[in-house]
Amino acid sequence: MRLLTHNMLSSNIKGVTNGFPLRIEVEKVVEKQVDLNPDFLRSMFSKIDWKALVHAARSIGYSELPDEADPSMLDSDDFLRRFHHALLQLHLEEGALICPETGRRFPVNKGIPNMLLHEDEV
């Protein structure tokens, strides 16, 4: 699972009002090469919750993202490269996602988070 997906996911448990961002528990992270597409990054930037992305990237061991970002930084190649790397190239392969409100653990196996809820959580 890429951080792009992590940035969109929120906990879906009944009664949870703020299920975002899910905390990340890391066992294994892999890197995959993906072509950089500046257009996609620019169009995604407004949808990304930057704080959550920086935090998530740190928790899986990539700390080269700036704390704050604004759209003007999208002109810098260096920034785009880092943004791209954090968003699309780092995959959480094994670990877990933790709901920030309830502490419920969603295991991640082979890069696939198991988001199935128990019957009493629906």
Binding site: M8, S10, S11, D39, L88
Partner: protein, 288 residues
């Protein structure tokens, strides 16, 4: 009718390792899936500016439709309930991210972040109650509600479905409209029972935001059924309730004689039955 997978087993059971294997080996399935996806993408009517979008594939299975999305350059997130199918997707090294999840439990995404959603032959599963805790209506409501929330304003969802009958289609459409979607049904090949394909084309927000439906191919002979469907809805709904409604309208119920006869019958069987009085089978007051 037993050829419908929905009637055989719940999706996470039906799509086991064997069934999932079929999806990698059958070129026919692969061809159909990619054609359906191409058509769904066409109906999604994304702006033609070459910018990749973030799309959602609901019921992505082994990622066949995802591959078509990747070919067009889009990023996608796939959701499926069958671990076996997702394992096949992993083997195929699809480019999108995969989630193991149940669409009937609602999609857990932040509001307004997804640029479009497609789903190929999956939504009709929601009409089944595979566990005692499953209520199709509640699951449809959760699904469409959460889909509406996570789509960006003006974004579209194109859901290819195989409804079992008119009632199912009406049920699905009703819940889509209830969630706030506008849109209707596009039917390809309406003349052929086998080739017939239905797509729910739903727009998030008022219809004015949506772009025009793309031109149909000459040979696919499609037509927009949204207006015709309204008719179907009323007809079939009244059909379903007519017997009960009639009874209520007559207001007489079965009558005192019938009740006395039944009580006598029960007495003869030796059951403990209250005595007959002047109150027996008398209608209750409206307020009590």
């Amino acid at each position: 009718m037993s050829s419908r997978p929905e009637l055989q087993a719940p999706p996470e059971i039906f799509y086991d390792d064997d069934e999932a294997r079929k999806y990698t080996s059958s070129s026919r399935i692969i061809k159909i899936q990619s054609e359906l996806t191409e058509r769904a993408l066409e109906l999604l009517a994304l702006p033609d500016d070459g910018v990749p979008r973030l799309l959602l594939d609901i019921g992505c299975g082994s990622g066949l439709s995802g591959e078509t999305l990747s070919e067009k350059g889009h990023e996608w997130i796939g959701l499926d309930i069958s671990q076996s199918m997702l394992n096949v997707a992993l083997e195929r090294e699809v480019e999108g991210d995969l989630l193991l999840g149940d669409m009937g439990q609602g999609l857990g995404f932040r509001p307004g972040v997804i640029d479009g959603a497609i789903s190929i032959s999956a939504i009709q599963w929601l009409c089944n109650a595979d566990k005692s805790s499953h209520d199709p209506r509640r699951r449809l409501k959760a699904f469409f509600g959460s889909l509406y929330r996570c789509l960006a304003r003006g974004a579209r969802a194109v859901l290819q479905v195989y409804p079992e009958n008119i009632d199912q289609r009406v049920l699905i459409l009703n819940f889509a409209m209830l969630a706030g979607f506008s849109g209707g049904v596009v039917v390809d090949y309406p003349h052929s029972a086998k080739k017939r394909k239905e797509y729910l084309v739903l727009t998030c927000g008022p219809p004015s935001v949506s772009k025009s439906v793309p031109e149909e191919d000459g040979e696919s002979c499609s037509d927009d059924e949204s207006s015709g469907d309204d008719e179907n809805q009323t007809v079939c709904v009244s059909d379903r309730h007519r017997p009960r409604k009639k009874q209520r309208m007559m207001k007489k119920g079965k009558g005192r004689e019938w009740v006395l006869k039944k009580k006598e019958q029960m007495r003869r069987r030796g059951n403990d039955v209250p005595a007959d009085t002047k109150y027996t089978a008398r209608k209750r007051k409206a307020r009590f």
